[in-house]
């Protein structure tokens, strides 16, 4: 790990009057797999395009290996890029596609042959060199695109929703393939997706985008367990939201009055007594106990249970009508039939309170 391979500072981009990216700071360490995650139109692809040089930022600086790329056209940036629609050259064989970047760099022919063999072997398509792209399946085409984008060992690999056009099974398979290639070649990757599962599976760190800004950047675990904003909590994973008002505060834990009763959750500094908040708690953090037993928590009724294979999902209706989802793993104490009364509890530091009102 050297210094950061890519640094963005104060980068801004508008289309006409619409802000696509607003005041963006981002840094990618050498060898890191960083994912830009967000809904469509959140600015993640625009960011990628600016790094590639296919679009120009209106303001801010982009440094590649410490040097500004402001005046470098895309073909001099030494980056590799994989597009969602593969963008393989339809009139060239697989071999010629993969050889193309090497030919552009004036690599000697013998060296090209060796590197192309090597790259095709890496993506497990060693015998497909003489085929044309249209003779390959979507998954195979994307492997060729991957081989082509890294055969010249670029400083940085950009991937723009590379698996978006593939079906689920192939997508999961290729996610692991890309991770393997990333590991084996120790490439720095900037990856764009709107699929949170994909981001959680593949990334060292994730930057969550919304409306042209980064909401939070961190490891998958950090984003999942300690979402910084309500948007992150709702965008990544499933979350229960409960609205209420802070009535007490002690040691980073707030006591919150909701329509269904009093609850506890972690609250960050600006939150003070009297504030309107929304509490986010993951289904797997929500525990259920028979209502007769001792302890606090919200009272509710199990209205539905769904067997998921890896566990069981309970939907509980609280006193005020709000529904809360609880996910219990296989082997957890068996719960209560449907329509039974339960106590709903969680560890206070596993729930997070955010400013705001119910939507």
């Amino acid at each position: 790990m050297g210094g950061p391979v890519l640094e963005l500072a104060g980068v801004r981009k508008r289309y006409d009057s619409v802000v696509a990216v607003e005041d963006l700071d981002l840094s990618l360490e050498t060898g890191e797999f960083l994912t830009l995650l967000g809904p469509s139109g959140s600015g993640k692809t625009t960011t990628l395009m600016m790094v590639a040089g296919l679009q120009q930022p209106d303001a801010g600086t982009i440094l590649l290996n410490g040097a500004s790329v402001a005046n470098l056209p895309p073909y001099r940036r030494d980056i590799g890029m994989v597009f969602q629609n593969y963008a393989l050259f339809p009139h060239m064989t697989v071999r010629r596609n993969v050889a193309f970047p090497l030919e552009m760099r004036g690599t000697p022919a013998g060296e090209i042959a060796r590197l192309v063999d090597d790259a095709l072997a890496l993506v497990k398509l060693p015998d497909h060199g003489e085929r044309l792209p249209r003779q390959l399946s979507g998954g195979q085409q994307q492997r060729v695109a991957l081989a082509r984008a890294m055969v010249y060992r670029p400083a940085l690999l950009l991937m723009d929703e590379p698996l978006g056009a593939l079906d689920r099974k192939l997508r999961e398979q290729l996610q692991l393939e890309i991770k393997r290639v990333h590991r084996e070649r120790n490439i720095s990757v900037l990856y764009v997706t709107h699929d949170q599962d994909e981001a959680l599976t593949m990334s060292d760190r994730i930057a969550v985008f919304d409306k042209g800004r980064i909401e939070q950047i961190g490891t998958p675990e950090e984003l999942y367990d300690r979402p910084a904003t309500r948007f992150v909590a709702s965008f990544i994973g499933d979350t229960n939201f409960l609205a209420g008002r802070v009535v007490g505060l002690a040691g980073g834990i707030c006591e919150i009055e909701t329509a269904a009763g009093r609850i506890l959750a972690a609250g960050r500094p600006p939150i003070a007594t009297g504030a309107s908040v929304v509490v986010a708690v993951r289904p797997e953090r929500v525990a259920l106990a028979p209502s007769g037993t001792a302890g606090g928590g919200l009272r509710g009724v199990v209205i539905e249970q769904v067997f998921l294979g890896t566990g069981k999902k309970y939907i509980v209706r609280l006193a005020d009508g709000t529904e809360v989802v609880s996910l219990r793993p296989i082997g957890a104490p068996p719960v209560e039939r449907t329509a039974s009364e339960v106590r709903v509890t969680w560890e206070p530091d596993k729930a997070t309170a955010f400013f705001g009102r119910a939507e």
Partner: protein
């Protein structure tokens, strides 16, 4: 909507297609047949078969000279029109040229403005430049006339082609010229080749601008045919018309063969 109900309509449609085809092709057939006539004047049906009018055609200096002028005219003008039209299309479709629509409209003018006006305009400009009656003047005139066809064909091919391929080429290290040569051009080649062939046919056939700009010394086939028709004409005119027809037919066949070869290669 039964198959039985469709049959009369299908028959009618077939008949209509045949009638239209006959109306389009019959005059051509008559001309070709007359060109092989043994009669000393235009007469149909011809009294006998002979090649005498082809003999006259290829032994009369006025005709052979004009054929040679036409070749000297159509080769450079169609190549020039294709080069300039393709370059203009690429710039206008892919580049961020201010006023691209206006420029495109201007390039298309020669097929919108009546030919007579274009011809008169060229004649006026050439008078000052001393280009009237020169091969250079004809070549420039025909190039201007053919650019709209090239721009229309190549632009639509460029619009259909995925821009991401050019973006991919750029990220892979291809400077603009290399990306154009290795990626864009091979993919729009069918349209470019078609443009070239159509320009050649149009040039061989073009009369109005040629009439204004040519001279007795530099007289392409179409003008020679025109002046022949104005005087006493004989079946030689049918022979040269058949040659023109054959030329167009061969070029169209070449175009088809190119396309077929290409799709075979890709399939």
């Amino acid at each position: 909507m039964s198959a039985d109900g469709m049959t009369p309509w299908r028959a009618l449609r077939g008949a209509l297609v045949i009638v239209v085809a006959v109306m389009l092709l019959a005059p051509l057939a008559v001309v070709v047949i007359i060109s092989f006539s043994a009669a000393p004047f235009l007469q149909f049906p011809p009294p006998g078969f002979s090649l005498r009018w082809y003999d006259v055609l290829f032994s009369t200096p006025a005709w052979t000279h004009s054929l040679w002028v036409s070749v000297q005219l159509l080769v450079p003008s169609s190549i020039l029109a294709t080069l300039l039209g393709t370059a203009a299309s690429y710039g206008l479709v892919r580049g961020r040229v201010p006023g691209a629509r206006l420029i495109t409209a201007c390039l298309m003018l020669p097929i919108i403005v009546p030919g007579m006006i274009t011809a008169a305009a060229l004649f006026g400009i050439y008078r000052g430049l001393g280009l009237n009656g020169t091969l250079t003047g004809l070549i420039i005139g025909h190039t201007v006339l053919h650019i709209p066809y090239v721009v229309a064909t190549v632009s639509s091919a460029l619009r259909v082609q995925d821009v991401q391929l050019e973006h991919a080429a750029a990220t892979l290290g291809a400077p603009p010229w290399a990306a154009f040569r290795h990626v864009t051009l091979p993919l729009i080649m069918p349209a470019v080749a078609s443009s070239l062939l159509i320009s050649m046919i149009l040039s061989f056939d073009e009369l109005i601008v040629s009439l204004f700009v040519s001279s007795a010394r530099v007289r392409p086939v179409a003008v020679q045919m025109w002046s022949n028709l104005l005087g006493d004409f004989d079946p030689t005119i049918a022979a040269i018309a058949s040659v023109c027809f054959l030329f167009a037919l061969l070029v169209m066949a070449a175009d088809l063969a190119l396309r077929a070869g290409r799709s075979l290669k890709i399939a």
